[in-house]
Amino acid sequence: MKKTGIFAIILLLLIGIVAGCSGESSTGKSKDGVVTLKYFAFSPGEAHEKDLKAMIAAFEKQNPKIKVDYELASFEDYFTKLQTQIAGSNAPDVFELNYENFVSYAAKGALLELDPLIKKDKEFNPDSINKKAYEAFQYDGKQYGMVESFSNVVLFYNKDLFDQAGVEYPSESWTWKEELEAAEKLTNNKGVWGTYAPVQFWEFYKTIAQNGGSIFNEDKTEVTVNSPENVETLTWMMDKMNKYHVTPTEKEMSGQANEDLFKAGKIAMLRTGIWMFDGFKDVPFKWDIALEPGNTQKAHHFFANGLAVSKKTKNAESAWKWAQFMSSSEEAAKIRIDSSWELPAVTDEALVKGYLEKSPPESREVVFKALDSLVVPPVIEEWSKLTDMFGKELDKVKLGQETPENALKNVEKELQTLIKK
């Protein structure tokens, strides 16, 4: 009795190991021809999981032979998990990528080229998607992803503070000069700061574009970061804090987020993303948005999320259908707009109208106007290295350890080695 007991334990353990290793077959196809797609996403978060469920329900209704099994992770954990799943040959069929990471994944050949599927699909028309947003998910001229949503950054301003200081609201024609003049009037000794933009890499690549500068040349073969325009831009970013005192330094903000300071009526003009619309909904003052002032030209951030299909999927056509649905279908776009979950990149005017009619802010058309002067992140394959290195050098400038000139010289040298790899 005892002996058999021990043998049974060992046997059970061994079976466990064998079963654990062999895994299930992963075609995802059941006997009745229903395909189960694995979908991995970060953008819903907790707040929009129910909206994702609604989208899946709408999709499954249209495609009774496809079932979507989703898994969510927070943005911080998402890419670690995704890489591990791909490395373990257990990649989801379809997964979300933001534009920056899209380039890395496409460059490393982890994504399925969608052009053959697009050609085959008679129902899909690329014109239903904003052209620039659609093209953002191309790599080497081939479509590797489908844009599902985008967001950008505009100038938010506190109307009440402008009224109190007797300053005209920001207009489209404003440049840095007008912004500074207004900011100097708006800044007061009651703790109100005229304008705010963080000094960090993302802000930097957009701000230099407002002054005609860039980080790389067009095809990213040469580093153009160390130019007089860019030195001027970085100096301007620092001067708003240290020379004109219209922007709080990090010390003066002492750990408070700029969005919270805006909410508290302590910042009159704030450059931040349209994802803050919801968060600023209930503030006790009037606010609106405007295009960002530039120096020699306009430039606005553009961020996008898209769906990509794993190169190793066994259900390419079903995967394409799901990616296409999330990207261009009316159903998905409508759910997105109704729940204020980012902005679908569709061109359908009726849908866009629904978005424009919502308020605050009143001037929602600014969101679309900003698209005319968008700058996409200057992504290279070694993107995370670039952002880390850049962040470090900008830190040094903020701490006064490095002048803008020297920091950009250092950055130039480091970038040259990064694009050579």
Partner: protein, 294 residues
């Protein structure tokens, strides 16, 4: 219950060891060996690894950021280790005395040890807030204008060290307490008769007889502090201006952010080698200073 034949006994032993062993094998043993193999490859996790010999190790040698991270890690250890030892020993001595609420205090000092690093780091991040944090508020009582702590490259590492000392003191204290209780009262009685002062007793009885415990703590703490990561990741993410970037964080960056699993594995093995050598040296040196009671 063990049978007469030897193999039956072994079978029983194996049956009981197997669950643990399998867990170790699959989740620790094989990954460790795999990382050694991977350290000789270039692997982006998305495509197949490519064998490149010792290139990764050569690259480490020329990687200025590796040396900076090593320097920061060593700085952490130099600041952290003596502090935690002294503070923990002091508290252990106090709590070894017969006093009211002794059990309560022993438990209280141990609470940080069982708290999660994430929670502790977030709380301390707030405590170190230059304008609203309790630390600078406390300093202001003495007319001291506290630094910017986590935003100041000269103070960020010190803030991390202080947090770590706060969290780990309880653990080290418990070990010291056990060590203190192992010292026989007779030594102190004999010293009393000889008229020794409390300080002399501490210097010539407590310290020498605690050396086995101290040695153990030193080894454990040194290994742990070479792997400092959680608090850095949450409190500063290695900033400002890279002043708190440590080795494990570098490994993490290469593995999961830069698509360089091979290089990350190589750095891991270099870190292992460093820890291994330091531990070996400590083991050698112990004969010189550790007194095992005869």
């Amino acid at each position: 219950m063990v049978g007469d034949k030897g193999w039956k006994k072994w079978l029983v032993i194996c049956a009981f060891l197997l669950p643990n062993f399998i867990g170790f094998l699959f989740f620790i043993g094989i990954p460790i060996l795999a990382s050694l193999g991977l350290s000789f490859t270039k692997w982006d996790l998305l495509t197949s690894p490519e064998f490149i010999g010792v290139e990764n190790y050569k690259a480490i040698w020329h990687d200025a950021e590796f040396w900076a991270a090593l320097k920061n890690t060593l700085l952490f250890i130099i600041l952290y280790l003596p502090t935690v030892l002294v503070v923990a020993l002091g508290i252990a001595m106090l709590l070894n005395k017969k006093m009211k609420g002794r059990t309560f205090f022993r438990a209280a000092y141990f609470i940080p040890v069982i708290s999660s690093w994430v929670a502790v780091s977030l709380i301390w991040k707030w405590l170190f807030n230059p304008a609203y944090g309790l630390v600078n508020y406390f300093l202001s009582w003495f007319g001291i204008n506290g630094p910017d702590w986590l935003q100041d490259p000269n103070w960020a590492m010190i803030a991390i060290v202080l947090t770590s000392v706060w969290k780990d003191t309880g653990f080290v204290m418990v070990l010291f307490l056990a060590g203190l209780q192992n010292i026989s009262e007779t030594y102190y009685e004999a010293a009393d008769i000889d008229g020794a002062t409390p300080f002399k007793k501490f210097l010539h009885i407590t310290i020498p007889l605690l050396t086995p415990t101290t040695f153990f703590i030193l080894i454990i703490s040194l290994i742990n502090s070479f792997q400092v990561f959680d608090q850095v990741m949450i409190m500063t993410e290695g900033g400002p201006a890279g002043s708190t970037t440590v080795l494990v964080q570098k490994i993490y960056n290469h593995a999961f952010r830069y698509f360089e699993m091979g290089y990350a594995s190589a750095v891991s093995w270099v870190l292992f080698l460093i820890i291994f050598i330091v531990t070996l040296v400590q083991n050698r040196l112990q004969k010189r200073w550790v007194d095992y009671e005869q």
